[in-house]
Symmetry: C2
Subunit: 235 residues, 2 copies
C-alpha cells in the first residue's frame, strides 16, 4: 500500500500549494472547533452574548469551504496530482462538507441555547449536555490532529470515542423523557434540549466520517462500510 | 461560463467511462429512492415484512458508494480530466456521500417504523408522516432527474420544494407535541414518530445539497452559501 510521502514533488510551487491546502483545511477545522466551544458556552453560561460572533464565524467557515473547494478543483485541473497527492486533495474536498455541517449543527445548538436562556434551568441535564458538547469537541480536535499528523492510531482512538458520546446522548434523552412525563407543560423546552443533544450526537458521527477520510488518506484504502474503521481491527 | 459538452472527448474509452459513472450514480440514486419508498410503506402499512429487503438494499447502496468513489478516483488519476468532465467526476463524488446518508436516514425510519407496528396508531399523524415521506421522495427523484438532464430549472424547482417539506414537518411536530402533552405515557412512541419526521426533514436538506451540486455541474460555479441556490434568483 502506498503511504504518504509528501517530500517528493517535482515542483516547489506544487509543494507549496499542497501544503497551503492542508493548512487552510486545518484553519477551517479550528474555526469549526471554536463554533462548538461557543455553543457549549451559551448552554453553560446561559448568556447569549456571543451569538453575533457565531454568525460571523459561520460566514468565515462557509467562505473557507467554497474557497478551499475551488482551490482543490484548481489543483486537480492544473497539476493533475496522482497517488498520495491526489488522495490528500480528495480527502480535503470530502472533509470540507462534514466540517461545514458540524459548524451548522453548532450554530443550531447556539440558537436553541439562546431560546433556553429564558427557561428555568435543569442543572443535571444542562451539565450532561455540556459534557456531551465537550466530548464531541474533543473528537473534532482528535480528528484534526490525526489529519495533520497522519496518525492512524489516533484516528482509531477518536472513532472509538463515539461510543462514549452515544452513551452520554442516551443519558440525556432518558433524563429528558422522564422530565417530559413529569412536567408536560415544559415539553417544548425539553424538546429544545433534546435537539441540542441530537445535534451533538450528529457532530460525533461527522467526526467519525473525518477519521475515516484520514484513514483513507494514510492507508490509500477506503475503510467505509468495512467494519475496519469501527473496530480499529487487525490489518 | 463553460457549459457541459459531453461529446468532445478525445478517447472513446474515456467517453464510455464517464458515461458509466453517470449511469451508476443514477442507479445508486434509484436504490436510495426505493429505500425511502420502503420506509414510507412500513409507516403506512404497519407491516415490517420488508425490513430484510431494506437491509439488503443498504448493503448494495454502501457497495455502490465505495465502488463509484474508487472508479472516480481512478478516472482522476489516469485520465486527468479537465473542465466539464472534471466537474462531472467531482459532482458524482460529492453526491455519493449525500445519497448514502439519505439511504441511512430511510433505514433509520424503517427501523423505527418496525417498533411502531405494535403501537396504537394515530391516523392523522401517520398520514402526515407518509405525506412528508412522499414529498422527500419526490425531491430525490427531481434531484436525480435534474442531474441526468442537466436541468437547472428543475434543480431550482426541487430546491423550492423544501419549503413544503419543512411546512409538513412543522405540522407533524406541532401535532406530536400536543399528543405528548395530552398523553404523557405515550411520549416515547411520539418521540419515535418525531425522529421519523426529523429524518425525512434531513432527507429534504440532503436533496437540496444534491441540487446545489447539479447547479455546480451545469454552471461551473459553486452556488453554495450564495443565496442564489435558495432563491433560484436572477443570474
Amino acid at each position: 500500500m502506498d503511504r504518504l510521502h509528501l517530500s517528493q514533488h517535482i515542483s516547489r510551487q506544487f509543494n507549496a500549494e499542497i501544503e497551503d491546502v492542508r493548512k487552510r483545511a486545518l484553519a477551517m477545522g479550528g474555526l469549526v472547533e471554536e463554533q462548538i466551544a461557543a455553543a457549549v458556552t451559551i448552554l453553560e453560561s446561559r448568556d447569549a452574548g456571543t451569538l453575533a460572533q457565531i454568525g460571523e464565524r459561520e460566514r468565515r467557515i462557509n467562505q473557507s469551504e467554497v474557497a478551499l473547494d475551488e482551490q482543490c478543483t484548481f489543483i486537480l485541473a492544473r497539476r493533475q496530482p496522482t497517488a498520495s497527492d491526489l488522495r490528500l486533495v480528495l480527502t480535503v474536498m470530502k472533509m470540507l462538507g462534514d466540517l461545514e455541517r458540524i459548524g451548522d449543527e453548532a450554530k443550531r445548538i447556539a440558537r436553541i441555547g439562546e431560546r433556553l436562556v429564558a427557561e428555568e434551568g435543569d442543572l443535571d441535564v444542562m451539565a450532561l449536555l455540556a459534557e456531551l458538547g465537550a466530548a464531541t469537541r474533543d473528537m473534532l480536535r482528535g480528528a484534526l490532529d490525526a489529519f495533520v499528523r497522519l496518525d492512524e492510531a489516533l484516528a482509531h482512538d477518536v472513532l472509538r470515542r463515539d461510543v462514549q458520546v452515544d452513551r452520554i446522548y442516551r443519558s440525556v434523552q432518558d433524563a429528558l423523557v422522564a422530565r417530559m412525563q413529569e412536567y408536560p407543560d415544559a415539553i417544548p423546552a425539553q424538546l429544545d434540549r433534546l435537539w441540542c443533544a441530537r445535534s451533538f450526537e450528529r457532530i460525533g458521527d461527522r467526526c467519525k466520517n473525518l477519521c475515516e477520510f484520514v484513514l483513507y488518506l494514510v492507508r490509500g484504502k477506503d475503510v467505509r462500510h468495512t467494519g475496519l474503521a469501527k473496530a480499529g481491527a487487525a490489518y
